[in-house]
Every structure is written in C-alpha cells, then in structure tokens.
C-alpha cells in the first residue's frame, strides 16, 4: 500500500476489561465500537466499511445499524485485526469505502453468547491431531518450544524472563489484569500446564474488546484525535496444524508478513521505537524478535533476559503487559494494535518517550497465520 495514505483516527477498548459476565460477545463488539466512534466524534451512520472476526460483519453491521459498502470477515485468529487494517487501507485507497470500523469483542472468560466449537472428526485436525489428546492452545502452541530449546540452548530461566519482564510493564498499567511483580522463581514454581510451559508463561483468559476507525490521511486532520498513519503492512499464513509447521524454530508466516511490512514501510530495525509481538505464550516474543529480524537466530532469549525489552530498555516490547499480564480474550491482536496507537498518540500508561514508529505483529491460530502493521505519528 501507499505509505501513510490511511490513518487510524478512532481507537478504544471496551469500557470494562477482564471479567464482564453482564455482557454478551456481540455487545462487547458494540461497546468497543461505540467507544471508538465517540473517540473520533462519529456515529454508526458515518461508517461505510465494517471488518471483524469472532462475529460475522453482517452481525456487527446490523447490530450497530450500519449499511456498509465494504465488509471484511477475515477470521484467521488473533491477527485477523492486523489483516483487517491492511485490507481496509487498500479498500479506502481503492475508493470502495471511506470510513472503516474494525471491531473485536470476545467473552473468552465468561463465555456469554459465544459459540463453542472443536474440530469435527472429518477435518484434518480431527483426524490427525485431536485423537492424540490436545487440550486447546496450551497443548498445541507450545509444541515447538522443546525443539527450539534444544536447537538454540534457550533455558527455562530465559523463557521465564519473558513473563517477568512483561509483568514489569503491566505493573505500570492500571487496566492490566495482573500487576504484581513476579520473579523467575515464581514463574518456574507456577503450576505445570504443558511441560515445559508453566501457568505464568500462558496468556490470561479474559472478556473484552476493542475497535478502530480508519479514514484516508487527507481526512484524518479533520478529526479531534492525533492521527496514527499506516506506514507498512504484511500478512501470511502457513498451516492449520502445528504438527505440519515447516520448522519448529521459526514461523514462516512471521517471516513473510514481517518482511513485507518492513519493505512497505521503507524502514530499518533501528528506526523502530516501540514493538508489540502477540504473546499468547512466553515463547512467542522470542520467535517474533528473531523472525522479524530484530535479533539473530537463537539470540532472542538472551536479548530479553538481558533487559533490552524491559522498561528503560532499548527496544520496549509489549508495553501494555501483553497477553501474559494485560488481557487476552482469545483473539488478542486488537489489544496489541490499541497499545501501538496509544504509544503513538502519547497516551499510554507506560509511555515510551519520543515514540514515532511502532511495529505491531500478530499471530493467528497456532503459528497458523500472521499479520504485521507498522504505524507512525509522523505526518505524510
């Protein structure tokens, strides 16, 4: 896409975050949407493009009273919202619509108004993975970890440090679900979930949502908020089954999506002030740092353990506390985008000084998909 041709002018999360048993999943979409519209002074009648995952865009558009000329229901897991941003930018540039609303709402913890599904026995997952007893993402997403540890010598202590550092960020964020500092010992002594992964290395399970409003950069200056421009975008997919991932030490979807976004943005890694890497589990930031090219192969564990990504470090990472400590509804990518926007607006609870360029990298499924959005507050 054309650099800085489209901007995020509205951004907000649900009014409450964490445990919201008095709101259904579709209402969480609506709550976030109405907050994002209020943020930029619009109403649903001003929206002509709708994108969402976890609900059909038909449902969200109808629920909010929107008659769109463009919809996107890309639903590939938690990075769907990065893809929606990318697709929306292309749609706005092509004139398919002018004002796009992207919504996320998920009753991940309370399960109110949420469809439950597992693989049917005739799907490939149903035939070739489910019979062996996986119990959701903690037992699938974590399968590559031992192989990565053996190949690169990553230690259990280094892996635990990912959770420790993110808790440092969360301690600065009043909306984070977990804010009390933790140590490596706390992590290693927490309950074993799927060896070698402990409880504190797994994301939270929460209720919540978020929404974004996108317009062309020419229109962005007419809004009350500080525009956040889209500088580069990428996306890719690899496999619906983690057992068929090409290499358990690196994500092909991460590499393809990240490279494309950096090329589009025309920036180098030294230009990046702030980084979000979707952290469903503690090894995700390690894979992300390497696959996006911030560090070399096998170096990310030490890079994090040495403090480079903690508050005051040279590469602030997951500054809201991440899925491990801030919130994780199930499809967390929207919250990573919200934090990038806050950092570039200068309104983050743990604000990075002079933040100009933020890279927001998402994963979908279990290394199944990826989307990368690079944002800036520097005007076109």
């Amino acid at each position: 896409m054309k650099r800085k041709s489209v901007a995020i002018v509205g951004a907000a999360e649900t009014t409450e975050l964490g445990i919201i048993p008095h709101m259904s999943q579709i209402q969480l979409h609506a709550d976030a949407a109405l907050n994002a519209l209020a943020d930029c002074g619009l109403t649903p009648k001003d929206i002509d493009g709708v994108a969402c995952a976890g609900a059909s865009p038909v449902e969200v558009a109808w629920y909010l009273g929107i008659t769109p000329t463009w919809v996107d229901g890309t639903a590939v897991g938690g990075c769907s919202f990065m893809m929606h941003v990318r697709h929306a930018a292309a749609a706005i540039n092509e004139g398919l619509c002018s004002t796009v609303l992207i919504t996320h709402g998920e009753s991940g913890r309370s399960g109110i108004g949420r469809a439950r599904f597992g693989p049917s026995p005739q799907t490939l997952q149903g035939q070739f993975e489910a019979p062996y007893g996986p119990m959701g993402p903690p037992t699938l997403f974590t399968l590559p970890v031992l192989r990565y540890m053996k190949e690169y010598g990553l230690t259990e202590e280094q892996l635990a440090m990912v959770a420790v550092v993110q808790r440092e960020w969360a301690s600065m964020n009043p909306r984070a679900m977990f804010r009390d500092p933790i140590t490596v010992e706390d992590v290693l002594n927490s309950r074993m979930i799927a060896y070698p992964i402990r409880l504190l290395e797994c994301c939270l399970v929460t209720d919540g949502g978020g929404a974004l409003v996108l317009v062309s950069s020419e229109r962005a200056k007419d809004f009350p908020t500080k525009p956040v421009y889209i500088l580069g975008t990428g996306e890719s997919v690899e496999t619906p089954m983690i057992s068929q991932m090409e290499d358990f030490t690196t994500s092909k979807a991460f590499r393809v999506s990240g490279k494309k976004a950096f090329e589009e943005a025309g920036i180098t890694h030294d230009d990046v002030d702030h980084l979000m890497i979707y952290d469903a589990f503690a090894h995700l930031p390690i894979f992300g740092l390497e696959d996006l090219g911030f560090v070399g192969r096998g170096e990310a564990g030490a890079f994090i353990a040495e403090g480079n990504t903690r508050p005051g470090g040279k590469l602030p990472l997951n500054t809201n506390g991440g899925g491990l400590s801030y919130t994780h509804t199930g499809m967390y990518g929207m919250f990573a985008l919200q934090e990038s926007v806050r950092q570039l607006r200068g309104t983050a609870p743990a604000q990075v000084p002079n933040c100009r360029i933020s890279v927001c990298h998402g994963v979908g499924g279990m290394f199944a998909a990826s989307g990368t959005i690079i944002l800036t507050n520097e005007e076109p």
Partner: protein, 141 residues
C-alpha cells in the same frame, strides 16, 4: 480398555484419507509420493503440495521415526483423564513428513522422552475402522 468406554476423539476418514486409515487397520503406515517430482508428504491429499501434480501414489512407510518435539499435558482433554500427564508429540518420519502422535511404552517424563530418540510405529485398535498410529521407543520391544 473396553471400546464402549472410549470417549476420545475418533477420526472419520474422507475419500482422500481412506487409504491411510485402511493401512493403519492392517498395521501399515501409508504415506503418499508424487510420481512427478518424488516429494513424499502427509497428511494425504489428491495432489502434490510441492508441485501440484495430481499423479500421486501411496506406499507403506518404514514406520521408523525420531522424536521431533513434544509437550507433557497436565490438563487432560475430555476422555484422556486417566492418561494425564501424557505426552503429545510430533515425530519426524524416516521418509520426511512429520505427524502428531502419542509416545507409548515409556514413562511420560522429560527424562524418558529425549528429543531425536529413535521410535517405531505401533497401532492402537480403536474401532472396526480405525487404528491409531502411535510410536514407541525402538528399545522398548
């Protein structure tokens, strides 16, 4: 275990996977090979995922594999309560492809489960139609 008590997910073959599951029932691990480019692949499908040729043949694999990676699950899936904690593994077959499986015939511990250890296939009968391929350490016979 009495089959009537088996509450774990049971695969249901499709036209593309029927040969694989029939092979398992006979005690054979069937893989596919592209007759155009020679690529060996899994899971089964009607074309080669590498070169897209529709000319594929199936053959019986050696059943030999190595332990590529695993987790030990402490939160059992429905039907697996008696097994916990149990390993969910991905094995690298001698012919190239990888598959998810369970490791049987050895303790479900990090000490007993060493990455790259040699394994061989064994088949667990589930129904008249389905036997599940699982793997055991080569020295566990």
């Amino acid at each position: 275990m009495d089959l009537a008590d088996y509450r774990k997910p049971i695969p249901k073959p499709t036209p593309e996977t029927k040969d694989f599951w029939e092979g398992c029932k006979r005690g054979e691990l069937r893989l596919q090979r592209c007759t155009a480019c020679g690529h060996v692949f899994f899971p089964p499908r009607g074309h080669c995922p590498k070169c897209a040729a529709r000319s594929v043949e199936s053959f019986t694999a050696s059943g030999r594999a190595r332990l590529y990676s695993y987790i030990i699950n402490h939160r059992p899936a429905p039907g697996f309560e008696q097994d916990a904690p149990y390993a969910i593994a991905v094995v690298q077959l001698e012919e190239g492809p990888r598959m998810m499986t369970n490791i049987v015939g050895c303790p479900q511990t990090p000490e007993a489960l060493q990455l790259d250890m040699p394994l061989e296939v064994t088949f667990e009968p589930i129904t008249d139609e389905i036997s599940l391929p699982k793997f055991r350490p080569v020295d566990a016979r």
